[in-house]
């Protein structure tokens, strides 16, 4: 530690601290433009100069390290003079177009001018004429306003690892711009916008819409992916104008956002939002009052229940809705309708993986928080396109890896951004992760690299595992995975030798059906190497949706009451019955898949869908159509008239994230507050409110004054939420388990012991997950793209401009064989369905595979993916055939309803064709 003196005050700072650090520690304000909390010192603006005793020159405090006994003066006449000169110069060449500048009112230059009380000064105002780039869809650049602090280019490089912007040119004409001065074409994270102290980089959506001083910031949680970034929605009236990332003690995103979080909010104001309840009358959906809609639902539900029993009713909860809404939804199903037929999309991806964790450790949740990655010295990113799927989590991985604090091992069939930074990238065949993980585990045991102490004290089933792994040496599975044995061995050794290794895995995307086995195999690996139950070591499955974890936590699961309490457990059920004053069904209900099958088979008569679009998001679209067509009553509660809603008997208009209060639980168990920023359009109502009104209409009084009242009931109901009281969430999130109001929450699980006692390893046999055939030789790899989250963001204008439609990736070798080139349209045919998509020839996907994004209504990947028997057919093989798409041009003018209708028609047509083609598969 060095002791230094700043303006007469002593302070001790660590060796290597800058003068600025020391001053800040004393809360002495030194103005700067280029300094940024998350960036390396740069020293370009020279605003932060100070005097140091015994030297002649002025020092830029942000870059000069302190020496012991240094005496620093931050506010002398010389210092003030120098700062004023910097300001004067900046101001001289800065266009004074504050009235049209989006940053006006938040501009650091403006603030400094006011602070220093300076006019133009000696040099007047000098016009400059640099480039203004209007060409990129989301981010606009005005070089004239740029003060070249370099924050944008540095954040783009140091945080974002993109390097889209950099200094260019020399001397006064120097600018920051993309290479070759082309329009920006990047991740559009907008970190540069937020880092820009002036109005040089700004959101195109925001510009010229509202002055910042009229905007009210509302601190809330991002509604898109599972990372749960804290946002500030800047609103005026009922309109969101601008979004900023929040960087405070309670946020976990350091103020960073992805393009969806920053620009995706436009969906809220989409003109297609539904604003009044509708009932199908004579085949058409017509607007009605809420009373009429409730009456209709009540009557039909009662009628069906009387005719077919409670279990003929089912409900699909929503991984997008709040905890409170999902809690009330499952309560409504169980208490008001009397059935356990309640489930969610988690069933198709996330939940199976969580099951593996539950079986091994006793808790269905990631073991460590995302912030805990800062303690890892090895990160193994498995089957995860983390920088696109869970962008800000990806930044945490990049930071750890690029700073040299952690090694990165990646396993991914696709070449994605993260694989570029990996020390080892294993490009295994899709669907063979289990074999790959088994091979790594076999190396660990074979070469004696296991953590024997940990194995002895905290692990069970080791011998059985060891036996089973004999079949999975890297050499033996090389043919299956396609990864050279030596590479697997190296990776396994690195993993075993790491002090703290964390596995990150994305469920739902690339491994939709094999989630449980994959996670179980990964669990084996971390258990034998002792990489769990410790800070910096564990496993974090990532999710695409914002509240998958919360939806499961709340009991929107057919077999679990809230808090993963089995419905079949009498004691538990009795406790709930006491709380809720009803008799609960003791039979586990139908899961999401079961409900679709049931409806198709005619045993399930009524389906209540809240904030979900099964026709788009569930596998086997054809089957879903059958199911929906076959229902007596389909209630859809949503923001938009979705494909599913096209089949509905009753449609209820719901509010969306920024329009309501509640909580989300992100992918690392962090419960965070969602705050109402604006009113919902028209007569749309909050989902939780609709449920309480409907329950009340059906005779079960639900009286909650607010969503927070619901949260209070949740804290009474779920033990590990017990301490998460609404008032604690205003400025910070809390990781569950949080058993008491004075408990800080738990970032790292299983520190002393597993709830299951010992961590259970188990043999995970690799199952061939699908078979290629002559007719279907290409492997389908569904996935997400950076610019979208589900289908919601396709309703955001700006994001749609960046990524307007699905583009499938075909490997150059395959393209050459099929005589395809980028821009061609192809028809993909699987054993069960057909879809058409435009392609791009790219080596990002492996030879023999075709990557198709899942977000777009026009291209239904789920039409190709089979539903049953899911586990036996985890991967889907398709045929590719080139087709002409001359009508593409016309689609732009199509209205939303007719487009949906056509989509549905196409699905039905597809089914018909498939039926005709049905024959023995070769």
């Amino acid at each position: 530690m060095f002791t230094v003196n700043v303006d007469g005050k002593q302070v001790k700072v660590p060796r290597g601290s800058t003068i600025l650090d020391a001053a800040r520690k004393l809360e002495i304000d030194i103005p700067t433009f280029c300094d940024h909390k998350y960036l390396l010192p740069f020293g370009s603006c020279r605003m932060c100069v100070v005097e140091v005793e015994g030297t002649d020159r002025l020092f830029a405090s942000c870059v000069v390290p302190v020496t012991d006994g240094m005496e620093i003066h931050t506010d002398t006449a010389r210092v003030r003079r120098a700062r004023e000169t910097v300001l004067e110069l900046l101001l001289a060449y800065h266009p004074l177009e504050c009235p049209v500048c989006p940053q006006s009112g938040r501009c650091l230059l403006q603030d400094m001018v006011f602070e220093h009380g300076k006019d133009y000064g000696r040099f007047g105002s000098i016009a400059v004429d640099k480039r203004i780039d209007y060409l990129s869809p989301l981010i606009e650049m005005n070089q004239n306003r740029c003060i070249l602090c370099g924050r944008c280019s540095r954040i783009c490089d140091e945080v974002q690892a993109e390097g889209e912007l950099d200094f260019s040119g020399r001397g006064f004409p120097t600018v920051v711009e993309p290479s070759f001065a082309r329009p920006m074409d990047c991740e559009f994270c907008g970190q540069c916008i937020q880092a820009c102290p002036v109005g040089s980089l700004y959101s195109r959506i925001f510009k010229h819409t509202a002055p910042v001083w009229e905007l009210t910031p509302v601190r809330t949680t991002c509604p898109f992916c599972g990372v749960g970034c804290t946002l500030s929605l800047e609103v005026k009236g009922d309109h969101i104008y601008h979004v900023l990332g929040v960087d405070d003690e309670g946020s976990n995103n350091n103020g960073f956002l992805c393009c969806k979080g920053r620009f995706g909010y436009e969906y809220v104001h989409h003109p297609d939002r539904i604003t009044e309840p509708m009932i199908r009358k004579e085949g058409e959906l017509v607007p009605v009052t809420w009373e009429e809609a409730y009456d209709r639902i009540t009557q039909d539900l009662v009628r069906i229940r009387e005719a077919h029993g409670s279990d003929a009713l089912g409900g699909i909860a929503s991984a997008r809705c709040t905890n409170e809404e999902n809690f009330l939804f499952q309560k409504f199903m169980r208490v008001v309708l009397g059935t356990n037929n309640v489930d969610s999309i988690a069933r198709f991806g996330h939940f199976p993986g969580m099951e593996a964790l539950r079986k091994a450790f006793g808790v269905e949740a990631p073991t460590n928080s995302l912030n805990d990655l800062q303690h890892s010295d090895l990160i193994f990113v498995l089957d995860s396109n983390i920088t696109e799927d869970d962008h800000v989590a990806g930044l945490k991985v990049l930071k750890q890896v690029r700073s040299g604090r952690a090694k990165l091992i990646a396993a991914n069939s696709r070449k994605v951004k993260i694989t570029r930074f990996a020390e080892s990238w294993m490009r295994h065949n899709p669907g063979t992760s289990v074999a790959l993980l088994n091979a790594m585990a076999s190396v660990v045991l074979e070469e004696g690299l296991e953590d024997s102490g940990f194995c002895r004290n905290r692990v069970s089933g080791l011998e059985e595992l060891r036996t089973s792994l004999a079949e999975y040496t890297p050499e033996k599975v090389e043919a299956i995975t396609g990864v050279p044995a030596s590479q697997v061995r190296e990776a396994a050794r690195s993993f075993a030798e790491a002090r703290n290794a964390t596995v990150i895995i994305t469920l739902g995307g690339a491994s939709p059906y094999t989630g449980e086995d994959t996670v179980a195999a990964a669990v084996n690996l971390i258990l034998i190497t002792g990489n769990v139950g410790r800070v910096g070591a564990g496993i974090i499955p990532m999710s695409e949706y914002n509240n998958v974890q919360g939806t499961m936590d709340m009991g929107a699961l057919a077999e679990f009451l809230p808090g993963y309490q089995p419905v079949s457990d009498d004691g538990i059920r009795e406790w709930f019955e006491g709380q809720w004053n009803v008799k609960l069904s003791d039979q586990p209900g139908l899961d999401a898949n079961g409900m679709i099958q049931g409806a198709a088979a005619g045993t399930l008569k009524a389906l209540y869908v809240m904030g979900e679009n099964p026709l788009s998001s569930f596998p086997d679209q054809g089957k879903v159509v059958d199911a929906l067509e076959n229902l007596d009553l389909l209630v859809v509660q949503d923001m938009f008239l979705t494909e599913t809603a096209m089949f509905a008997d009753v449609v209820l208009p719901a509010s969306c994230g920024p329009e309501k209060d509640g909580t989300f639980t992100n992918t690392d168990r962090r419960v965070q507050r969602v705050k109402k920023a604006i009113n919902a359009p028209g007569d749309a109502r909050d989902d939780w409110k609709i449920i309480t009104e409907l329950a009340t209409a059906m005779g079960y009084e639900m009286n909650y004054g607010s969503a927070m009242d619901v949260l209070r009931e949740i804290t009474n109901t779920i033990p590990f939420y017990a301490g998460i009281l609404p008032e604690r969430l205003d400025t910070s999130g809390i990781h569950w388990p949080c058993p008491r109001p004075d408990h800080p929450g738990t970032e790292v699980l299983h520190l002393d012991r597993f709830p299951s006692g010992l961590g259970r390893t188990r043999p995970v046999p690799f199952k061939e997950a699908g078979k290629a055939s002559a007719n279907y030789p290409y492997l389908l790899v569904p996935g997400t793209v950076l610019y979208h989250s589900g289908t919601t963001t396709t309703m955001a204008r700006g994001l749609n401009e960046v990524a307007p439609s699905a583009v499938a990736e075909v490997h150059p070798a395959d393209a050459s064989e099929l005589d395809l080139s980028s821009g061609d349209w192809v028809r993909l045919t699987s054993r069960i369905g057909i879809t058409e998509v435009q392609i791009k020839v790219s080596d990002r996907s492996r030879e023999g595979t075709i990557f198709v994004p899942t977000h777009f209504r026009d291209v239904s990947v789920n039409a190709l993916m089979s539903h049953e028997p899911a586990k036996e057919q985890g991967v889907t093989y398709v045929a590719i055939e080139r087709v002409q798409r001359v009508e593409v041009e016309d689609r732009g003018v199509e209205g939303p309803v007719s487009r949906l209708k056509r989509t549905v028609q196409e699905i039905q047509e597809m089914k018909r064709r498939m039926a005709e083609q049905a024959g023995p598969d070769v």
Binding site: R46, T85, F123, G171
Partner: protein
Amino acid sequence: MGYESDKLIVIGMGTCGLASGARGVLSEVEQQMDKLSIEVPILKTGCIGMCYQEVLVDIALPGRARVTYAKVEPEMIQSIINNHVVKGKPVTDYAIGQITTNGEKIYKGIPTYQELDFFKKQNRIVLRRCGFIDPDKIEDYLETDGYRAAEKALGTMSPTIVREVVKKSGLRGRGGGGFPTGLKWEFCSNAAGDPKYLICNADEGDPGAFMDRSVLEGDPHAVLEGMIIAAYAIGARYGYIYCRAEYPLAIERLIRAIEQAEERNFLGENIFGSDFSFHLKVKEGAGAFVCGEETALMASIEGKRGMPRSRPPFPAHRGLWNQPSNINNVETFASVAPIILNGADSYAGIGTESTKGTKVFALTGKINNTGLIEVPAGTQLKEIVYDIGGGIVGGGKFKAAQLGGPSGGCLPAEIIETPIDYDSLIEAGAMMGSGGVVVMDERTCMVDVARFFLEFTTAESCGKCVPCRMGTRTMLGILERISAGLGAMEDIKNLEELAQEIKNTSLCGLGQSAPNPVLSTLRYFRREYESHIKEKRCPAVVCKTIISSPCQHVCPIETDVPAYVTLIGQGKFSEALELIRITNPLPAVCGRVCHHPCESKCRRGDLDESISIRTLKRVAADFAAKEEATGKYKINVSKISGTGKKVAIVGGGPAGLTAAHFLAQSDFSPVIFEAQRVAGGMLILGIPEYRLPRETLQHEIRAIESMGATFHLNTQVGKAISFDQIRMDHEAVFIATGAHVDLKMGIPGEDAEGVYESLSFLRRVNLGEEVPLGKNVAVVGGGNTAIDAARVARRMGAEVTILYRRTRREMPADEMEIEEAINEGVDLQTLVAPVQIMISGGRMAKVQCIKMELGEPDSSGRRRPEPIEGSEFEVEFDNLIVAVSGQPDLSFLEEGHGLSISKWNSIDVHPYTQMTNVEGVFAGGDVVTGPWMVIDAIAAGKRAAAHMELFLNGEEVVPQYGVTKPNIDPVEAIGLTEEDMHLTRPGMPTMEVEKRLRDFAEVELGYTKEMAMKEARRCLRCDTEE
């Protein structure tokens, strides 16, 4: 004959040699040898330093001194080969020097190198091999002690000892910073980390600096050897030479040198049989000046944008790839081997207390001997400029030298005795920098120099930090404003403040030193800035926006020369005259007797000879007068109404006449009081008629009269009318009484009979008085009056001798006049001064003279005449005319006139408004300046009229400065044809010498119409250039 290995032909093939045509010379040498069937080895060397003498060819014959031929053209080769190589007889006409290295026999009639001014004061350590070895041959290097120092260091010295020796030698970084080299090595050596890197900074980017290039091209192994020793001293395993890509030859030679050194295991693993390994690579820079800054340089090697970062951490701790690194420049490394080989003391013994050893300088600019020199630190700038550099091109005057490139500063002539070492230079506001010396003469505008360097640094700033990027740009903007005549005095203050702030706050050396050229020029040449700002004048006639064209700008009355010259070129003589008359009421006079400063600045003169601007003016006036005589043309005089206020003009010389003209033009009533019976003042009393015919003058005076000026001749103020009376009768007064009183030499016997004073002599002759003159007449002085007196005396039948104390080169008189005087038989005796006039019989008999010699140059470069003790001698003369100077006669002023009078008895006035300290009283011409030029008197009259007009109109009399502008819409340039470019200036047709001495008829006859039109077409019309 066949292969003659004992002979050697050396050809300078550095960049300077190649640029001067070395390749052509080489191929001619080869051809000539082919022709003679001989084969002599040819050595292709780097630059020997005499870039101004390239192409250089040396011939060395066995046992004989090596002879250097300079400025060799292929045509000269045959003779050199035939005579020298074959017959052993050097061609002394072409040879400039010879050099012996091993006691070879020298030739007669060729100076040795040691005798050459260029080499006399040099001490070549870094450059010891440049020009003497073949840089592509490691054998040549080895033969000249090459790699012996490295062998010694690695074989017999520990790294610590190597560092100690270098520390003790006092070697300081030659890149400009001057940091002690040994200490720098020690820092890096002590820093923790492996590997360590050694970097050679060969990104020489200063305008005017090329010493690194020459060393790399001429002696690349010296740099390698220095680096090997440094690497060993530091413990660096890897090295880079960062060389700018603009030095392709240097890079080529470096790469070859590295290959050769690797082959012999001087580089690579376990070099020189030790356990030390050192690998070296050349990295090409991409042309950014800032990459000479060490942190930017390292970023560039790393493949990043070349932008500096803040230090600390210093490269010694965190440098290339974040490892401990050491950077020195080429010259520093090249200095290392001799230190190791000859010991620290050998080096420390050279130079000054603070700066040891030698320093290489690149001499460029307006200096005769451009090239590379190496002198002991502490050598004076004077020695570099005059002794080594051979003085200023074209005998011009040394004005300043820019040292240290864009980061350095200008040293003015006044401090030419500054010793060149680190500390003295910093004190003087410059810096050693890399060693570029750009020499400037009087045609260099210091504001423009500052602007040039600022333009450079502004463009080369990396753009990272605000003070450098925006501050230098702002300074440049201010300088541009000043150069354009739009500056304000406040700008100087802003420049100084901003410069200081930029120096204080910039991130790297580039910004911290960028304001230096401005600060140093402001320090030494502030007056020049003020001139641009206050008077809209560029004294060096450079700043385009202010000057319009140089001829117009230097003309005291801003005659629109390019326009009238063009009109003459088009044959429009009377239109040309009208244009001239806008600014000048005496065109025919000026066309004959003006000293034409315009011609001295004429740009055409930079190409061949200046336009004969004066004669063209005369031609316009004379032809118009001819046409006037025939009634074809009428001079345009707007006669005044006569109702204007009355203004008195005391004295009818050029100043008074001009003032009268312009006052009349502005509707005032000027009244001229002239003591003599004719008007014209010095034009008629001083200038002999053979130069200015009476009628020519009278014609122009009549035009002024016809405008309404009233002349009272024979009216001596103070006698015929009192000055007070004049003041009372007129609303304003302009005193233009001239300077008609002769000054004396102040030697014994000056009052003797037979001794005349030149002004009164001329006046009396011009007024037709009888002036007795003997056979032998001496004239003392070197000015125009002396020449006039001499030529008049010749016409009066005397044998005339001019005595002048300096040499003919220093004579202030017009060169043409001197020439004509000699033609007319005047004997010119220079370096002679009279010390006493011997009297015999009450009359002068002899003149005792003393011989003079020229001493050391003063700060202006002009050498002072000093008498040679004991060289007195006596000469007999009948008459002596003393033409030293004159002064005004102010006896006409009454007691209590209140005017401020100078110690030279002249009237003090505001230099621009011409108003005296007494309201309403103006003065101008010789009465203010002492004896001076006609055109300046005219200018004074013109300025006085303009400001008197302000006064008469009741306005405040403040100077009305403006930038020089064309008087009418620019006359469209004719456009120069190829033929025009080849035209030469015609000589002045003159009356035959024999005829001249008969009477006082005009000697110069002027041009014919055709000659004039042709001559006018040579004008480059620089007024139209952007």
